[in-house]
Symmetry: C2
Amino acid sequence: MSPSNSPNLTPNLALERKPERKKSAAKSAAILDGAMQEFLANGYAATSMDRVAAAAGVSKATVYSHFHDKSSLFASLVQELAEESFKATSIDLRDASTFTGEPREVLTRLAREILDEATCDPKFCEFIRLIIGESGRFPELSKPYIQNVAKPVIDGLTHYLSTCETLHLNDPEASARTFMGTLIYFVMLQRLLGGAELMPMESDRIVTTLVNLIVPTC
Amino acid sequence: MSPSNSPNLTPNLALERKPERKKSAAKSAAILDGAMQEFLANGYAATSMDRVAAAAGVSKATVYSHFHDKSSLFASLVQELAEESFKATSIDLRDASTFTGEPREVLTRLAREILDEATCDPKFCEFIRLIIGESGRFPELSKPYIQNVAKPVIDGLTHYLSTCETLHLNDPEASARTFMGTLIYFVMLQRLLGGAELMPMESDRIVTTLVNLIVPTC
DNA sequence: GTCTATAAGGAGATAGAC
DNA sequence: GTCTATCTCCTTATAGAC
Protein backbone atom coordinates (compact mmCIF):
# COMPACT_ATOMS: atom_id res chain seq x y z
CA MET A 1 0.00 0.00 0.00
CA SER A 2 2.95 2.30 0.60
CA PRO A 3 3.29 4.53 -2.45
CA SER A 4 7.06 4.65 -2.13
CA ASN A 5 7.30 1.14 -3.54
CA SER A 6 4.97 1.71 -6.41
CA PRO A 7 6.63 2.11 -9.80
CA ASN A 8 3.66 4.23 -10.85
CA LEU A 9 4.89 7.14 -8.80
CA THR A 10 7.65 8.37 -11.08
CA PRO A 11 5.58 9.96 -13.81
CA ASN A 12 7.27 13.33 -13.88
CA LEU A 13 10.75 12.10 -14.51
CA ALA A 14 12.22 11.96 -17.96
CA LEU A 15 11.71 8.24 -18.24
CA GLU A 16 8.91 8.37 -20.75
CA ARG A 17 11.15 7.58 -23.65
CA LYS A 18 10.51 3.88 -23.38
CA PRO A 19 6.90 2.89 -22.77
CA GLU A 20 8.00 -0.63 -23.60
CA ARG A 21 7.22 -2.58 -20.47
CA LYS A 22 3.67 -1.59 -19.78
CA LYS A 23 1.57 -3.73 -22.09
CA SER A 24 2.64 -1.47 -24.90
CA ALA A 25 0.00 -0.06 -27.16
CA ALA A 26 2.40 -0.82 -29.98
CA LYS A 27 2.07 -4.53 -29.29
CA SER A 28 -1.69 -4.22 -29.13
CA ALA A 29 -1.66 -2.52 -32.49
CA ALA A 30 0.62 -5.19 -33.92
CA ILE A 31 -1.70 -7.90 -32.65
CA LEU A 32 -4.73 -6.17 -34.13
CA ASP A 33 -2.82 -5.86 -37.38
CA GLY A 34 -2.06 -9.55 -37.44
CA ALA A 35 -5.63 -10.33 -36.47
CA MET A 36 -6.89 -8.13 -39.28
CA GLN A 37 -4.73 -9.93 -41.80
CA GLU A 38 -5.84 -13.38 -40.68
CA PHE A 39 -9.51 -12.77 -39.90
CA LEU A 40 -10.08 -10.85 -43.14
CA ALA A 41 -8.45 -13.63 -45.13
CA ASN A 42 -9.89 -16.68 -43.37
CA GLY A 43 -12.95 -15.63 -41.43
CA TYR A 44 -13.43 -16.19 -37.71
CA ALA A 45 -13.59 -19.96 -37.29
CA ALA A 46 -10.82 -20.79 -39.75
CA THR A 47 -8.38 -18.38 -38.11
CA SER A 48 -6.17 -19.82 -35.41
CA MET A 49 -4.64 -17.84 -32.59
CA ASP A 50 -1.26 -19.33 -33.52
CA ARG A 51 -1.42 -17.70 -36.92
CA VAL A 52 -2.57 -14.40 -35.46
CA ALA A 53 0.40 -14.47 -33.10
CA ALA A 54 2.77 -15.34 -35.93
CA ALA A 55 1.36 -12.61 -38.16
CA ALA A 56 1.74 -10.13 -35.31
CA GLY A 57 5.29 -11.23 -34.58
CA VAL A 58 4.57 -12.11 -30.95
CA SER A 59 3.92 -15.26 -28.99
CA LYS A 60 0.48 -16.65 -28.42
CA ALA A 61 0.68 -15.97 -24.69
CA THR A 62 1.24 -12.29 -25.44
CA VAL A 63 -1.89 -12.25 -27.53
CA TYR A 64 -3.82 -13.66 -24.58
CA SER A 65 -2.31 -11.10 -22.23
CA HIS A 66 -3.71 -8.30 -24.39
CA PHE A 67 -7.05 -9.89 -25.26
CA HIS A 68 -9.01 -12.21 -23.06
CA ASP A 69 -9.94 -14.71 -25.74
CA LYS A 70 -10.42 -15.20 -29.44
CA SER A 71 -13.90 -13.74 -29.64
CA SER A 72 -12.99 -10.55 -27.77
CA LEU A 73 -9.99 -10.05 -30.03
CA PHE A 74 -12.32 -10.44 -32.97
CA ALA A 75 -14.76 -7.96 -31.48
CA SER A 76 -11.99 -5.42 -30.94
CA LEU A 77 -10.83 -5.86 -34.50
CA VAL A 78 -14.30 -5.35 -35.95
CA GLN A 79 -14.75 -2.26 -33.81
CA GLU A 80 -11.48 -0.82 -35.04
CA LEU A 81 -12.19 -1.62 -38.67
CA ALA A 82 -15.63 -0.08 -38.45
CA GLU A 83 -14.17 3.15 -37.12
CA GLU A 84 -11.37 3.12 -39.66
CA SER A 85 -13.81 2.46 -42.48
CA PHE A 86 -16.01 5.15 -41.06
CA LYS A 87 -13.23 7.70 -41.31
CA ALA A 88 -12.49 6.62 -44.84
CA THR A 89 -16.04 7.17 -46.03
CA SER A 90 -17.12 9.92 -43.68
CA ILE A 91 -14.45 12.34 -44.82
CA ASP A 92 -16.59 12.72 -47.91
CA LEU A 93 -19.71 13.35 -45.87
CA ARG A 94 -18.31 16.01 -43.57
CA ASP A 95 -16.51 17.81 -46.33
CA ALA A 96 -18.81 20.49 -47.69
CA SER A 97 -17.19 20.34 -51.13
CA THR A 98 -18.59 16.85 -51.57
CA PHE A 99 -22.06 18.27 -51.89
CA THR A 100 -21.37 21.38 -53.93
CA GLY A 101 -22.55 21.57 -57.51
CA GLU A 102 -25.48 20.32 -59.50
CA PRO A 103 -27.20 17.27 -58.00
CA ARG A 104 -26.31 15.30 -61.10
CA GLU A 105 -22.62 16.06 -60.65
CA VAL A 106 -22.68 15.51 -56.91
CA LEU A 107 -24.37 12.12 -57.13
CA THR A 108 -22.17 10.99 -60.00
CA ARG A 109 -19.04 11.97 -58.13
CA LEU A 110 -20.24 10.29 -54.95
CA ALA A 111 -21.17 7.05 -56.70
CA ARG A 112 -17.81 6.91 -58.45
CA GLU A 113 -15.95 7.51 -55.21
CA ILE A 114 -17.79 4.72 -53.45
CA LEU A 115 -17.19 2.27 -56.28
CA ASP A 116 -13.56 3.33 -56.52
CA GLU A 117 -13.01 2.73 -52.85
CA ALA A 118 -14.62 -0.69 -53.08
CA THR A 119 -12.51 -1.54 -56.09
CA CYS A 120 -9.15 -0.20 -54.97
CA ASP A 121 -9.27 -1.13 -51.30
CA PRO A 122 -9.40 -4.91 -51.03
CA LYS A 123 -9.86 -4.61 -47.28
CA PHE A 124 -13.19 -2.90 -47.84
CA CYS A 125 -14.63 -5.92 -49.65
CA GLU A 126 -13.12 -8.40 -47.23
CA PHE A 127 -14.54 -6.48 -44.34
CA ILE A 128 -18.03 -6.55 -45.80
CA ARG A 129 -17.63 -10.24 -46.46
CA LEU A 130 -16.53 -10.82 -42.89
CA ILE A 131 -19.35 -8.78 -41.36
CA ILE A 132 -22.04 -10.51 -43.39
CA GLY A 133 -20.52 -13.94 -43.01
CA GLU A 134 -20.13 -13.78 -39.24
CA SER A 135 -23.18 -11.70 -38.36
CA GLY A 136 -25.15 -14.91 -37.86
CA ARG A 137 -23.00 -16.07 -34.96
CA PHE A 138 -21.92 -12.59 -33.79
CA PRO A 139 -25.07 -10.49 -34.10
CA GLU A 140 -23.59 -7.73 -31.94
CA LEU A 141 -20.69 -7.22 -34.31
CA SER A 142 -22.83 -5.87 -37.10
CA LYS A 143 -23.77 -2.94 -34.86
CA PRO A 144 -20.39 -1.19 -35.15
CA TYR A 145 -20.65 -1.52 -38.90
CA ILE A 146 -24.20 -0.18 -39.01
CA GLN A 147 -23.54 2.66 -36.58
CA ASN A 148 -20.17 3.74 -37.95
CA VAL A 149 -20.44 2.97 -41.63
CA ALA A 150 -23.86 2.25 -43.07
CA LYS A 151 -25.99 4.62 -41.02
CA PRO A 152 -23.80 7.72 -41.36
CA VAL A 153 -23.64 7.26 -45.10
CA ILE A 154 -27.39 6.73 -45.45
CA ASP A 155 -28.13 9.63 -43.12
CA GLY A 156 -25.75 11.99 -44.87
CA LEU A 157 -27.11 11.10 -48.25
CA THR A 158 -30.67 11.37 -47.00
CA HIS A 159 -29.98 14.84 -45.68
CA TYR A 160 -28.46 15.92 -48.96
CA LEU A 161 -31.29 14.52 -51.05
CA SER A 162 -33.87 16.20 -48.84
CA THR A 163 -32.23 19.57 -49.48
CA CYS A 164 -32.48 19.25 -53.26
CA GLU A 165 -35.89 20.69 -54.02
CA THR A 166 -35.33 20.27 -57.73
CA LEU A 167 -35.35 16.49 -57.33
CA HIS A 168 -38.88 16.40 -55.86
CA LEU A 169 -38.21 13.20 -53.95
CA ASN A 170 -41.14 11.96 -51.88
CA ASP A 171 -38.97 9.77 -49.64
CA PRO A 172 -35.33 10.89 -49.45
CA GLU A 173 -34.28 8.09 -47.10
CA ALA A 174 -35.74 5.35 -49.25
CA SER A 175 -34.09 7.03 -52.23
CA ALA A 176 -30.77 7.09 -50.41
CA ARG A 177 -31.13 3.38 -49.77
CA THR A 178 -31.80 2.80 -53.44
CA PHE A 179 -28.65 4.73 -54.23
CA MET A 180 -26.47 2.77 -51.83
CA GLY A 181 -28.18 -0.53 -52.57
CA THR A 182 -27.46 -0.26 -56.27
CA LEU A 183 -23.79 0.41 -55.61
CA ILE A 184 -23.31 -2.20 -52.90
CA TYR A 185 -25.14 -4.84 -54.92
CA PHE A 186 -22.89 -4.10 -57.86
CA VAL A 187 -19.83 -4.56 -55.67
CA MET A 188 -21.34 -7.68 -54.18
CA LEU A 189 -22.03 -9.38 -57.49
CA GLN A 190 -18.94 -8.28 -59.38
CA ARG A 191 -16.28 -8.27 -56.69
CA LEU A 192 -17.38 -10.41 -53.78
CA LEU A 193 -19.05 -13.17 -55.80
CA GLY A 194 -16.78 -12.96 -58.81
CA GLY A 195 -19.63 -12.25 -61.19
CA ALA A 196 -17.41 -10.17 -63.46
CA GLU A 197 -16.91 -13.14 -65.79
CA LEU A 198 -20.39 -14.66 -65.73
CA MET A 199 -22.37 -11.44 -65.99
CA PRO A 200 -20.04 -8.56 -66.85
CA MET A 201 -21.19 -5.00 -66.33
CA GLU A 202 -19.34 -1.71 -66.50
CA SER A 203 -19.53 0.43 -63.40
CA ASP A 204 -20.15 3.54 -65.51
CA ARG A 205 -23.40 2.09 -66.81
CA ILE A 206 -24.55 1.57 -63.23
CA VAL A 207 -23.58 5.09 -62.22
CA THR A 208 -25.19 6.73 -65.25
CA THR A 209 -28.41 4.76 -64.94
CA LEU A 210 -28.63 5.31 -61.20
CA VAL A 211 -28.15 9.06 -61.48
CA ASN A 212 -30.63 9.28 -64.34
CA LEU A 213 -33.24 7.50 -62.24
CA ILE A 214 -32.87 9.88 -59.33
CA VAL A 215 -32.33 13.13 -61.21
CA PRO A 216 -35.40 13.76 -63.37
CA THR A 217 -34.66 14.23 -67.05
CA CYS A 218 -38.01 15.52 -68.21
CA MET B 1 -16.77 -57.64 -68.50
CA SER B 2 -19.53 -60.22 -68.95
CA PRO B 3 -22.81 -58.41 -68.74
CA SER B 4 -24.49 -61.44 -67.15
CA ASN B 5 -22.81 -60.60 -63.84
CA SER B 6 -23.70 -56.97 -63.85
CA PRO B 7 -26.47 -56.03 -61.42
CA ASN B 8 -27.39 -53.26 -63.82
CA LEU B 9 -28.93 -55.81 -66.15
CA THR B 10 -32.06 -56.57 -64.16
CA PRO B 11 -33.89 -53.31 -64.62
CA ASN B 12 -37.15 -54.79 -65.82
CA LEU B 13 -37.80 -57.05 -62.88
CA ALA B 14 -40.10 -56.05 -60.06
CA LEU B 15 -37.24 -55.64 -57.59
CA GLU B 16 -37.30 -51.89 -57.49
CA ARG B 17 -39.19 -51.74 -54.22
CA LYS B 18 -36.10 -51.71 -52.10
CA PRO B 19 -33.20 -49.62 -53.36
CA GLU B 20 -31.80 -49.80 -49.82
CA ARG B 21 -28.42 -51.44 -50.17
CA LYS B 22 -26.94 -49.50 -53.02
CA LYS B 23 -25.63 -46.32 -51.41
CA SER B 24 -29.22 -45.24 -51.18
CA ALA B 25 -30.18 -41.88 -52.55
CA ALA B 26 -32.32 -41.51 -49.45
CA LYS B 27 -29.21 -41.53 -47.28
CA SER B 28 -27.52 -39.04 -49.55
CA ALA B 29 -30.53 -36.78 -49.25
CA ALA B 30 -30.54 -37.16 -45.48
CA ILE B 31 -26.86 -36.28 -45.33
CA LEU B 32 -27.38 -33.24 -47.52
CA ASP B 33 -30.25 -32.25 -45.27
CA GLY B 34 -28.11 -32.51 -42.18
CA ALA B 35 -25.33 -30.65 -43.95
CA MET B 36 -27.73 -27.91 -44.92
CA GLN B 37 -28.89 -27.49 -41.36
CA GLU B 38 -25.37 -27.30 -39.98
CA PHE B 39 -23.59 -25.34 -42.70
CA LEU B 40 -26.35 -22.75 -42.93
CA ALA B 41 -26.30 -22.27 -39.17
CA ASN B 42 -22.54 -22.33 -38.53
CA GLY B 43 -20.74 -21.67 -41.78
CA TYR B 44 -18.14 -23.95 -43.30
CA ALA B 45 -15.23 -23.93 -40.85
CA ALA B 46 -17.32 -24.02 -37.69
CA THR B 47 -19.30 -27.03 -38.87
CA SER B 48 -17.95 -30.43 -37.86
CA MET B 49 -18.57 -33.63 -39.73
CA ASP B 50 -19.70 -35.21 -36.46
CA ARG B 51 -22.57 -32.78 -36.20
CA VAL B 52 -23.47 -33.24 -39.85
CA ALA B 53 -23.62 -37.00 -39.29
CA ALA B 54 -25.69 -36.55 -36.14
CA ALA B 55 -28.08 -34.16 -37.85
CA ALA B 56 -28.43 -36.62 -40.72
CA GLY B 57 -28.99 -39.55 -38.38
CA VAL B 58 -26.11 -41.60 -39.76
CA SER B 59 -22.57 -42.34 -38.70
CA LYS B 60 -19.65 -40.25 -39.75
CA ALA B 61 -18.20 -43.09 -41.82
CA THR B 62 -21.40 -43.18 -43.84
CA VAL B 63 -21.03 -39.51 -44.61
CA TYR B 64 -17.54 -40.16 -45.92
CA SER B 65 -18.77 -43.08 -48.03
CA HIS B 66 -21.20 -40.75 -49.82
CA PHE B 67 -18.95 -37.68 -50.05
CA HIS B 68 -15.21 -37.75 -50.41
CA ASP B 69 -14.47 -35.06 -47.88
CA LYS B 70 -15.88 -32.04 -46.13
CA SER B 71 -15.30 -29.57 -48.94
CA SER B 72 -16.94 -31.73 -51.60
CA LEU B 73 -19.95 -32.25 -49.33
CA PHE B 74 -20.12 -28.49 -48.97
CA ALA B 75 -19.85 -28.03 -52.73
CA SER B 76 -22.67 -30.51 -53.33
CA LEU B 77 -24.83 -28.74 -50.79
CA VAL B 78 -24.29 -25.33 -52.33
CA GLN B 79 -25.05 -26.73 -55.76
CA GLU B 80 -28.31 -28.22 -54.52
CA LEU B 81 -29.34 -25.08 -52.67
CA ALA B 82 -28.63 -22.92 -55.69
CA GLU B 83 -30.85 -25.11 -57.83
CA GLU B 84 -33.54 -25.24 -55.18
CA SER B 85 -33.44 -21.48 -54.71
CA PHE B 86 -33.46 -21.11 -58.46
CA LYS B 87 -36.71 -23.04 -58.71
CA ALA B 88 -38.22 -20.98 -55.92
CA THR B 89 -37.53 -17.68 -57.64
CA SER B 90 -37.66 -18.75 -61.25
CA ILE B 91 -41.25 -19.95 -61.08
CA ASP B 92 -42.12 -16.28 -61.10
CA LEU B 93 -39.98 -15.59 -64.12
CA ARG B 94 -41.26 -18.38 -66.32
CA ASP B 95 -44.86 -17.77 -65.41
CA ALA B 96 -46.33 -15.37 -67.96
CA SER B 97 -48.84 -14.01 -65.44
CA THR B 98 -45.96 -12.53 -63.47
CA PHE B 99 -45.42 -9.96 -66.19
CA THR B 100 -49.02 -9.17 -67.13
CA GLY B 101 -50.49 -5.81 -66.25
CA GLU B 102 -49.24 -2.28 -66.01
CA PRO B 103 -45.47 -1.95 -65.42
CA ARG B 104 -46.20 -0.23 -62.13
CA GLU B 105 -48.28 -3.16 -60.93
CA VAL B 106 -45.88 -5.78 -62.25
CA LEU B 107 -42.82 -4.23 -60.62
CA THR B 108 -44.63 -3.62 -57.33
CA ARG B 109 -45.83 -7.22 -57.23
CA LEU B 110 -42.39 -8.54 -58.11
CA ALA B 111 -40.62 -6.45 -55.48
CA ARG B 112 -43.08 -7.52 -52.81
CA GLU B 113 -42.67 -11.18 -53.72
CA ILE B 114 -38.90 -10.98 -53.49
CA LEU B 115 -39.01 -9.21 -50.13
CA ASP B 116 -41.63 -11.64 -48.86
CA GLU B 117 -39.52 -14.61 -49.78
CA ALA B 118 -36.48 -13.12 -48.10
CA THR B 119 -38.52 -12.37 -45.00
CA CYS B 120 -40.47 -15.60 -44.69
CA ASP B 121 -37.82 -18.08 -45.75
CA PRO B 122 -34.98 -17.94 -43.25
CA LYS B 123 -32.98 -20.34 -45.41
CA PHE B 124 -32.84 -17.71 -48.13
CA CYS B 125 -31.02 -15.22 -45.91
CA GLU B 126 -28.75 -17.85 -44.42
CA PHE B 127 -27.86 -19.06 -47.87
CA ILE B 128 -26.89 -15.59 -49.01
CA ARG B 129 -24.87 -15.14 -45.86
CA LEU B 130 -23.11 -18.44 -46.47
CA ILE B 131 -22.34 -17.71 -50.12
CA ILE B 132 -20.92 -14.28 -49.38
CA GLY B 133 -19.08 -15.39 -46.29
CA GLU B 134 -17.37 -18.38 -47.90
CA SER B 135 -16.85 -17.00 -51.41
CA GLY B 136 -13.41 -15.80 -50.40
CA ARG B 137 -12.10 -19.29 -49.71
CA PHE B 138 -14.42 -21.11 -52.17
CA PRO B 139 -14.54 -18.83 -55.20
CA GLU B 140 -16.03 -21.58 -57.39
CA LEU B 141 -19.03 -21.92 -55.14
CA SER B 142 -20.41 -18.52 -55.99
CA LYS B 143 -20.81 -19.66 -59.60
CA PRO B 144 -23.81 -21.91 -58.93
CA TYR B 145 -25.45 -19.02 -57.13
CA ILE B 146 -24.73 -16.56 -59.92
CA GLN B 147 -25.73 -18.94 -62.70
CA ASN B 148 -28.85 -20.37 -61.06
CA VAL B 149 -30.13 -17.50 -58.98
CA ALA B 150 -28.73 -14.04 -59.64
CA LYS B 151 -28.25 -14.18 -63.42
CA PRO B 152 -31.67 -15.67 -64.31
CA VAL B 153 -33.41 -13.05 -62.20
CA ILE B 154 -31.41 -10.17 -63.65
CA ASP B 155 -31.82 -11.50 -67.17
CA GLY B 156 -35.56 -12.06 -66.80
CA LEU B 157 -36.07 -8.61 -65.36
CA THR B 158 -33.86 -7.06 -68.01
CA HIS B 159 -35.91 -8.70 -70.74
CA TYR B 160 -39.14 -7.49 -69.21
CA LEU B 161 -37.91 -3.92 -68.76
CA SER B 162 -36.66 -3.83 -72.34
CA THR B 163 -40.14 -4.73 -73.60
CA CYS B 164 -41.79 -1.81 -71.79
CA GLU B 165 -41.54 1.02 -74.28
CA THR B 166 -43.49 3.33 -71.99
CA LEU B 167 -40.64 3.28 -69.48
CA HIS B 168 -38.10 4.69 -71.97
CA LEU B 169 -35.18 3.04 -70.18
CA ASN B 170 -31.80 3.66 -71.78
CA ASP B 171 -30.14 0.70 -70.08
CA PRO B 172 -32.58 -2.04 -69.03
CA GLU B 173 -29.90 -4.29 -67.54
CA ALA B 174 -28.43 -1.55 -65.38
CA SER B 175 -31.99 -0.66 -64.35
CA ALA B 176 -32.65 -4.29 -63.44
CA ARG B 177 -29.56 -4.27 -61.27
CA THR B 178 -30.79 -1.12 -59.56
CA PHE B 179 -34.08 -2.87 -58.90
CA MET B 180 -32.50 -5.98 -57.43
CA GLY B 181 -29.78 -4.04 -55.65
CA THR B 182 -32.27 -1.92 -53.79
CA LEU B 183 -34.16 -4.99 -52.60
CA ILE B 184 -31.15 -7.11 -51.71
CA TYR B 185 -29.48 -4.23 -49.88
CA PHE B 186 -32.65 -3.73 -47.89
CA VAL B 187 -32.65 -7.41 -46.93
CA MET B 188 -28.96 -7.22 -46.17
CA LEU B 189 -29.20 -4.25 -43.82
CA GLN B 190 -32.47 -5.12 -42.11
CA ARG B 191 -32.34 -8.91 -41.94
CA LEU B 192 -28.75 -10.08 -42.30
CA LEU B 193 -27.11 -7.30 -40.30
CA GLY B 194 -29.98 -6.74 -37.88
CA GLY B 195 -30.34 -3.10 -38.81
CA ALA B 196 -34.06 -3.15 -38.09
CA GLU B 197 -33.48 -1.62 -34.66
CA LEU B 198 -30.72 0.84 -35.43
CA MET B 199 -32.13 2.19 -38.68
CA PRO B 200 -35.71 1.00 -39.12
CA MET B 201 -37.37 1.21 -42.51
CA GLU B 202 -40.63 -0.18 -43.81
CA SER B 203 -40.38 -2.38 -46.84
CA ASP B 204 -43.35 -0.64 -48.43
CA ARG B 205 -41.47 2.65 -48.54
CA ILE B 206 -38.65 0.92 -50.39
CA VAL B 207 -41.02 -0.70 -52.86
CA THR B 208 -42.99 2.49 -53.51
CA THR B 209 -39.90 4.62 -53.96
CA LEU B 210 -38.19 2.07 -56.16
CA VAL B 211 -41.18 1.70 -58.47
CA ASN B 212 -41.65 5.47 -58.64
CA LEU B 213 -38.04 5.90 -59.70
CA ILE B 214 -38.32 3.40 -62.54
CA VAL B 215 -41.84 4.18 -63.72
CA PRO B 216 -41.95 7.81 -64.84
CA THR B 217 -44.58 9.90 -63.13
CA CYS B 218 -44.48 12.96 -65.33
C1' DG C 1 -23.32 -50.27 -47.14
C1' DT C 2 -23.11 -49.05 -42.49
C1' DC C 3 -21.40 -49.15 -38.11
C1' DT C 4 -17.79 -48.57 -33.79
C1' DA C 5 -13.31 -47.45 -32.58
C1' DT C 6 -9.26 -45.08 -33.37
C1' DA C 7 -5.39 -42.74 -35.51
C1' DA C 8 -3.03 -38.27 -36.25
C1' DG C 9 -3.02 -33.64 -35.88
C1' DG C 10 -4.54 -28.84 -34.68
C1' DA C 11 -7.32 -25.90 -31.81
C1' DG C 12 -7.95 -22.57 -27.60
C1' DA C 13 -6.12 -21.47 -23.47
C1' DT C 14 -2.70 -21.54 -19.44
C1' DA C 15 1.63 -22.39 -16.21
C1' DG C 16 5.81 -21.00 -15.03
C1' DA C 17 10.56 -19.28 -16.28
C1' DC C 18 12.83 -14.90 -17.13
C1' DG D 1 5.22 -8.12 -20.06
C1' DT D 2 6.79 -11.73 -22.85
C1' DC D 3 8.34 -16.05 -23.87
C1' DT D 4 8.49 -21.58 -24.27
C1' DA D 5 6.31 -25.64 -23.23
C1' DT D 6 2.25 -27.98 -22.24
C1' DC D 7 -2.62 -29.47 -21.10
C1' DT D 8 -6.98 -30.82 -22.87
C1' DC D 9 -10.34 -31.12 -26.08
C1' DC D 10 -12.08 -31.50 -30.66
C1' DT D 11 -11.18 -31.95 -35.58
C1' DT D 12 -10.85 -34.66 -40.15
C1' DA D 13 -10.41 -38.90 -41.96
C1' DT D 14 -9.83 -44.01 -41.96
C1' DA D 15 -9.53 -49.21 -40.54
C1' DG D 16 -11.86 -53.12 -39.75
C1' DA D 17 -16.01 -55.69 -37.87
C1' DC D 18 -20.65 -57.02 -39.40
